[in-house]
Each structure stands twice: as C-alpha cells, then as structure tokens.
C-alpha cells in the first residue's frame, strides 16, 4: 500500500507537470483544471499515507555500485512534511488559478510547481543520500525557475540565479556529507549512520555535521546565507507561499532534525546551530521592522521564524522545532497568499502606498489578521503554542543569553507584524490605487488555512504520535498530548515572552511618543536597511569573480605566437621539476 502511495505522491505531480506542459498554452482553462486535479490527487495520496506510517523501507531499487539502492521510507517525519508539501501545494495551485489568470506561459508555471511538489515529497521520503541530494537540487532548480518566471524582468532573473547559486553552494555541504557517508559506511542509506552501527572517525563526523549545517543554513536562508530569500520575493505570490515559506525552506530544518541523533554529540555543533538560529532570528526581525515592501517583510519574518526552528534543534527539542514548522507553514502560507491577494488587487508591493485596504477587502483583511496574530504569538493561535514550546526548550537546553535574545525577538515579531497590518489595512489610502475584487479561488484557498491557523495546535497529540519509536526510529520522542502541552506552556516562564510581546505591541501603539528612542536607534536602522553588510559581501564575491574572469579572458590573445609560448612554458615547467627532482 505504502509503495503505491509513495509512487503516487511523487509520480502524480511529475506526470501532471508533463501533461500540463503538453496541453499547451492555448488551452489555459484545461491547464488550470489539470494542475488542480493532479495536485489535489497528490495531496490525497499523501494524507492516505498517514495511517500507515512506519519506519520500514518501502521501496528499494538497486541502482548498483556507487549509486546505492534507491530507497524510500514513509516514517513520521517524512509523511508530515509530505503532507505539508502536497496540501499547501494544492492550495497554492488553487489560489494560482485566479492569481495567474491570463498570464503568458502558464504551462511552464504549473509544470514547475507540480515538479516542485513531487520533488519536495521525494526529498523527505527518500532515505538514500544520493536521491536526497538529487531532490534537494531539483527543488532549488524549481525555485529558481519560478522566481525568475518573469524572464523579461532582470530583477527577477537576478533573484532567481542568486537563489540557485546560494542554495547550490550550500548543497556542496550536503554533497560532501553524502559522499563521506558512502565512503565510510559503504551504503548511501542514512540509517547506516543514524543507527550508530558504523563508527565514523570523530573528525569525519564533524565534517559531516558542519557540512550539513551549511547546507541547511543555505536552504533555510539562515545566517550567513539569508540574503537570497528577500530577493526571491520577485516570484509570484503563490510561489512565495509554497516554496519560500511553507516547504522548500523547511528542507534545511528537516535535514538538521533528521540527523540530530548522530550530530548532537559532535563538539560545538549544537552551540553552532543555536548561534545560527539566534543570529538569523534577530537580524531578520530587525530588517522586517524597517522594510516597506510587504512581501519582503514576510520574507524576513520567514527567516526569523526558521531561526526559531533551527534554534530549537540546537537546544535539543526536535519536536518543538517540527511543531513550529507545522504552525509556521500554515500561518505563513496564509499570510503570503493573503498578501498576494492584496498585491494582486492593489497592484503594488510597497506598503507606503497602501493604507486603508481593509475597507475594500474585508475578507482578506480578516484572514491576514488571523495569520498575523499567529505569527506574533498571541495566545490561542497556533503560533503561540509552538513558539512557547521552543522558548521552553531553549530555556532548558541552551544558555540564558540565547533565550533572552529569542524572547526579545518575539517582541520584535509582534511589533513588525502589527506595523505591517496597520500600514496595509488601516489608516487612509496613501496613494491613488484601484482595488480589484479578489477572485473566488483565492478566497477558497485562504479559508482552510485561516481555520487551521486557529485550531491546528489541537492536533498536537496526533502530531506527536508521528514521532514515536515505531514511526521514527533513533529520535526517542515521547508521546506528547494536549495535557502535556498545557502543562509545559502554561507556566510562569510563559509570562515573560507574553509580556515582551505585549510590550512590542505597545511600542507600536505609542510609537509617536517614542520618537527619541527611534532616533537613538537610527544607526541600527541604517545597518538593517543595508542588510548588515551581507548584501555587500555577496556583491563583492560576485564582482571579484567577474573581475577575475574578465582578466583571465585577456590571456586568450588570439595571437598564435603567445599560444605557442604557453606550450613551451608548460614543457619548461615540467623539465624544471624533473631537473630538480633528478
């Protein structure tokens, strides 16, 4: 059963991608229908995997020699992320039918979306490191292709290539890890090292652990690779919701969570993971505070929230991290789709030109506010529970310094969230925009997400069962019901983050009276607007590479004599070496 389902989850979207492409751009309606049908079918197949979660290898295709066996496992972690990918994928596709209506080359768009959904499912379902790397790169390729979907816009093309290059640079870490696993265990299956049977030398394990950390940081847009995600916002909004909020960026967190049992004892690894998480969360939150582009604010907040997840893993609570991933996928997809609806309707992403949109789009306003409350960590919404669990875990598993920074970031989160909501939906219109109506498909896609953002935390008991010993070996996560959650979250220490969050909101309410304080932090604002220099480092690397390429090109003089002198020079170098050796 699982065998067929896994094949369906990966195969259906890929087949769909092919068929949509074949349908041709002249039959746009048909393409919309096909894309929705295939993504929904994949989502259904993924949900049907849920009752059959097991740690057993389901498919094993021998590929021979250095390629290992192509294996797939439907364990708890995999199935959970598969469902996120396919279900949110379906919603994004439904949303697109109205958002992308009438765009050119819609076939290419859907083909890549479906290709991505299949690849993302494959990435989490496989247990072969080669396949994992393969799917990892395919998701990067799809992300690139969709960011630069509008090929005529140089900004979109640049953003896409930047995302591809940075995530591929990180991919080198994963590649190296996969190679080393194969070399030292003779197998490409990750259970070879997770099982603890293979004794890797300590230094190799360290290379592996930090290699994977680099890969994860690049994929999840963490420090110091965070710069690609804001630029990826040139993508159509459903893509931002699906790839750059709910699924692909989670692959890094998934990688860390998957290998946590072997890496946790590597010296300094957990410390490094926590530092990466804390720095990303803090810097991104500050940048979100000063940005005026709605989608960029959401992108920064994604980086920040992913920072929380990474921090949780470093602190030793894989469960809290995955639970926040669950909540975040829902509320961030909701926020991006709602933002997409706003942008589609208003025609700009600049918040300084919006204002008062709420009056014209009340439905969008309310679902956006639901998402915003969840993001800010206001009680009862799903973000509150998972964020509190992470903070509790951080208090137990890491230094108090990191904990206080993360609590501070929680306050900042509340501040920038309310700022965004205010600038978009309230006040008077600040420019002469004309708000279109929001399509029905958009509303249909938003509704389940809004509902889930309110109630998804109730499923914590069911959720924790996915991570039990039978469905997820090596991790030893105990069942964790609502009772335990109440017990853990409703504690005295919860009051501190809640107080800070309230303080954050109050800061916005009394913003006019805090002018002096704002001025005092102008230098910080300047730093944040320049992305703390990381953009500069990126540009520097690109410029240096291009300059060296350009100077190397001058060696191709095209003059025959110089070409031959190079030949003679090579001979001389050889002979000198031999003469010294002899």
């Amino acid at each position: 059963m699982n065998l067929i389902l896994i094949l369906l989850v990966i195969g259906l979207p890929w087949l769909g991608a092919f068929i949509v492409l074949l349908a041709g751009d002249k039959h746009e309606k048909l393409q919309h229908v096909l894309a929705v049908a295939f993504s929904l079918a994949a989502g259904a197949a993924a949900i049907m995997l849920l009752p059959n979660v097991s740690k057993a290898v389901v498919i094993s295709l021998p590929a021979g020699t250095v390629f290992g066996n192509f294996t797939f496992v439907a364990d708890g972690l995999s199935v959970f992320l598969t469902i996120i990918a396919t279900v949110i994928g379906s919603l994004a596709v439904i949303f697109s039918t109205s958002y992308m209506h009438g765009e050119a080359q819609i076939g290419r768009y859907y083909a890549f979306v479906l290709y991505f959904i299949g690849a993302m499912a494959g990435l989490v379902l496989t247990s072969n490191m080669l396949l994992m790397f393969l799917f990892w790169e395919i998701t990067a390729l799809c992300s690139y292709a969709l960011i630069s979907f509008n090929n005529d816009d140089p900004k979109a093309v640049r953003g896409g290539i930047k995302a591809l290059i940075i995530t591929s640079v990180g991919g080198v870490g994963l590649l190296l890890g996969a190679l080393l696993i194969f070399v030292y265990t003779g197998s490409l299956s990750y259970s070879a090292i997770l099982g603890g049977n293979a004794s890797l030398p300590a230094n190799i394990l360290a290379v592996l652990a930090f290699g994977f950390l680099i890969a994860a940081a690049a994929k999840s847009a963490q420090f110091p690779f965070q710069t690609w995600l804001p630029d990826a916002m040139e993508a159509p909004s459903p893509i931002s919701a699906l790839i750059h909020a709910a699924t692909m960026v989670n692959a890094g967190v998934y990688l860390l969570a998957r290998f946590y049992p072997v890496f946790k004892d590597v010296p300094y690894w957990r410390e490094a993971v926590m530092v990466v998480g804390v720095l990303s969360a803090l810097m991104a939150a500050i940048m979100a505070l000063v940005s005026t582009d709605l989608k960029r604010v959401l992108a920064y907040s994604t980086v920040s929230q992913l920072g929380y997840m990474v921090y949780a893993i470093g602190a030793g609570s894989v469960f809290a991290s995955q639970f926040h991933l669950f909540s975040h996928s829902i509320f961030k997809a909701l926020l991006f789709l709602a933002a997409g609806a706003v942008i589609h309707s208003v025609g700009t992403r600049d918040m300084t030109k919006m204002g008062g949109v709420g009056k014209k789009l009340p439905y969008v306003k309310w679902v956006f506010i639901v998402g915003a409350l969840a993001l800010a960590g206001i009680p009862v919404f799903n973000g509150f529970w998972s964020k509190e669990m992470i903070l509790e875990a951080g208090l137990k598993g890491g230094s108090i310094v990191y904990y206080s920074v993360m609590v501070f970031v929680a306050g900042l989160t509340a501040l920038y969230t309310i700022r965004a909501v205010w600038m978009v939906f309230y006040g008077e219109p600040r420019s002469d925009y004309h708000a279109h109506k929001v399509g029905l498909a958009m509303k249909i896609a938003l509704a389940p997400l809004a509902l889930a953002a309110v109630v998804s935390w109730l499923a914590v008991g069911r959720f924790s069962l996915l991570f039990g010993a039978n469905s997820l070996p090596f991790h030893n996560i105990q069942p964790f019901g609502l009772k335990e959650m109440f017990h853990e979250v409703i504690a005295l220490s919860t009051l501190i983050p809640l107080a800070v969050i309230t303080l954050g909101i109050l800061c916005w309410v009394f913003r006019s009276k805090l002018g002096g304080l704002v001025k005092a932090f102008n230098w910080m604002r300047w730093l944040a607007e320049h992305s703390f220099g990381f953009e500069g480092i990126n540009t520097g690397i690109v410029k240096a590479t291009e300059a060296s390429a350009e100077s190397l090109r001058t060696t191709q003089t095209g003059i025959f004599s110089w070409n031959l002198l190079a030949v003679l020079g090579t001979i001389i170098i050889f002979f000198v070496l031999f003469a010294i050796g002899a």
Binding site: G64, T65, I161, S168, G558, L564, V567
Partner: protein, 503 residues
Amino acid sequence: MNSVLITLGLIALPLVAAPIIYLFGRTSVRKQRLLGMTLAKLLTLLVLVLEGLLIYLGVQVWVAGGSVATNIGTIQVGLDGIGLIVGTIAVGLGFCVVIFSIPYMENENGEEKYYALLLTLIGSIVGLACSMDLFNLWVWFELMAISSYFLVAFYNEQPASLESGFKYLTQSAVGSALVLFGIAILFSTTGSVAMWSVWSNATSGTPIVYAAAALIIVGFGIKAALVPLHTWLPDAHSQAPSGISAMLSGIVIEAGLVAMLRTLSVLAQTHFPSGIILLVFGCVNILAGNLLALRQVEVKRMLAYSSIAQVGYMLVGFGVAILSSSYVAAAGGFFHMLTHAMMKGLAFLAAGAFLYVLHIGKGEHTALVLDDLNGAAKKYPVVAFLLSLALLGLGGLPPLAGFMSKWQILVATAGVNSTLMICIVIFVALNSVLSLAYYVPVINRLYRLNISETAAAGRSISWIMVLPMVILAVGIVVIGVWPSLANFLTFNAAASLMYPFGV
C-alpha cells in the same frame, strides 16, 4: 564471426568506405544531380550502423570469454574496454552528427568532402582507441588531426574560419611533433614501440623517460585542451560547422585524452607521477574553463570554454584513479566522457540548429550571440527545451546524466582518505555551482516573452535536424535516471586502463 575479422572490419571499414563516399558525392557535383549525394549520405549512415554492429559482435565475443585482438605484422590492434567505450561514443555521436548534417550542410560547397572526411575522422578515432602500439597510436592520431583540419576550416571563404583552421593546424602539428619526440625517446630507451614490451622494459624512471612522458602529456594535452595548452580550442569549436563542433568537443578532444592515458599507462612501472599531474591539470582546467566561459557572449564559444572545464572533471577522475588505484574513479572518468559526449553533443547541435535557422541558412556567417536567443522558445519550443536540457545537464543538475558522472568521480575522490581530496571535492563541487552562473542565464533568455528580432526572422527547423537531438536528449535523461546502464562500458574501460598499473 571470428575476432580477427571483427577487428579488421572495425578499423578498415570507414577508411575503405570514405573514398567511395567521396566518389559518389563527386558524381552528383559534376552532373548537378542529387542522386550521388543522397547515396553518399546513406552510405555514410550505413557504414556507421555496420560499425556499431561490429562493436556489438566484438562485445559478444568478449562476453563469451574470447579476446578481440589481432596482430597486423607486429602491430597489435584489438577491441578492449577503452576501445569499446571510445568506439561506442565515436560511432554513436557520429551517427547523430551525420543525420544532423544532412540539412545543415545541404548545398554547401564541398559537401561530398565533408562526409568522406567525417567518416575518416570517426574511423581514425575508433582505430586510435583500438591500437596497442605507441607509434601506430600516433599514426591514427595524426590521421584524426589531418582529417579534421579541413572540417574545421570548412567555410574557407570566411576569414575567421581560416584563422581558426590555421591555429588549429599549427598547434596540433606542434603537439603531434612533441608526442613523436616522446615516442622516439621511449623507443631509444626501451628498444620497442609495442605497448606491452615498452611497459615491461621501462621499469626505471630515468630523467629522459620522464621528459618523454612530459612531452607526451603536453603533446596529447594540446589536443585534449589542458590549460594552458587550450588556446586553439575556442576558435576551432566556434568556427567549425556545428556538427563538427559537436564531434570535436564530444570525442576528438577526449580521444587526445585517451591516447595520453594509454601512453601513460605504458609507463606505469617507472613511477612517473602521472596521477598528481592529471589531478593538477584537472583542477586548473575546471577553474579556468569556468571563468573563461563566465562572461562570454557568443554561444558556441561559451560552450567551447565549458568543454575545457568538463575535460577537467575527467582529468580529476583519471588522476584520482591513477593516484589511488581506484577503479571507481577511472570508471567515473570514462562515464563523464560518455555523458559529456551526449550533453555537449546535444548542446552544440542545438546551438547549431539555432545558428542555422537564424544565420547560416540565410547565407550569413555572423556568430550566434546570446541576444539572438532571447525568447527563442516561443518560436522553436522543442530545440529551446533540448538546449536547456543539455545546459542543465552540463551544469550538473540532477536527474540528468551529467550529475551522475560527476557524482561517481566525486565518490571516488572522497574515497581517498585524505584532507586534500576532501578539499578537491569541495573545489570541484563549488566550480559546478559556478558553472551554473553561465548556463542558467542562457536558459532564461530562451524563455523570455519578448522575442529578439533575429529569432523572429528565423527560418523553420527541419525535423531531420531535431531527430538526432531527441536521440541524445533521451540518452541524457535515461542515463541520468538509471546510471548503472553505463556500468558495462565504464567499468570495462576502467579495467583496461588500470590493468597496466597492476590493479
């Protein structure tokens, strides 16, 4: 069919058929009739099919436990693992190129010479891979060079084409003189040119034997485009007719590499540090090739520079193989040779198709620049898709063939238990990422909405041109999804290469 006949047929068939093809073609040029030319094309295809059949029969003899080798006089020739893979690539790619050339070269002045020389070129590569005698190897190598000179300078009314032809000719000739020098030294010191007796006689590495090895590396290295001996390559690849560019990049430079490896394996007992030398050249090639391609605006020239980088991957594979006696690395090197032939062949054919419909078909000989490709997917969706596929494969994105061969090379490299090798893995992988920076923008251009004026005014593409590209593309995808299909070819070749090294 016995093995002697197979061997003789394999090396003699193309060379015997080439003059006949020329004569057929010539009659139609004289009498202005098309029949002869058509016959010539069909005969070329037929010979290639027969060659494929002979290779297949040879493999059958092999599998049954026999060896496909024979002595012609004192010269031993035979189909071993290296011969098998190089022969397969040459014949297979040659077949695709011939089909592609039917519309591409139609009514060009000298069409009949083109097919005759193309067949000679393919035959010489097969012969080179089958030769077991150092001097005979050089003769095949020279035949390969001589038959390709005119093919490179085919458009002899174009100054640029003549220029590239002249540089190619002189630098090749210098290379082959250097190789000969090396062979002469080995002959003087060991008293033989038969590979196995040189192998058994050359047991101590006197400085002059090392010098001979260096000359041979540099000499063959000119053909194999080792940096800094590569300078002829971008000119020749960009100016030759596109089918020939595909041949040059897909197999001719690799034939130089194979000849070099054969010769180095003969010197296995002298402790000549060939492994480390190949590794160093490999790394330099990868970096220089990528950087040179990065800012290039001519499509074929960019592909030519990327060939330099791709040869670097093979060199890394072979270097690791020799350095650490690793089968997997050698097989990876050969695997990359195979996948590169398919990917670069496809890329050059697709670029050639664009060049043809946008420029050459109209009688213009301007270079195809990136701007010409803007929005080309709108008008030529199939070719644009195939070109994107080839470029993504070259950039090492899965699940295409190029990723699998690079993976195999990297697995073997990481398998050598040393920090240096881990650094090389990281270096190679980062360079793969760097190469995306020039492959991917091309794809972006293809899918733009605003079509360039040149592309909008292009002619339609004949299906005969598309057919060989589809064949290659299917190969790329199939090998990418099921990489162990190529194991028979690659591991036998690795066994033949590593045997003299005592592995």
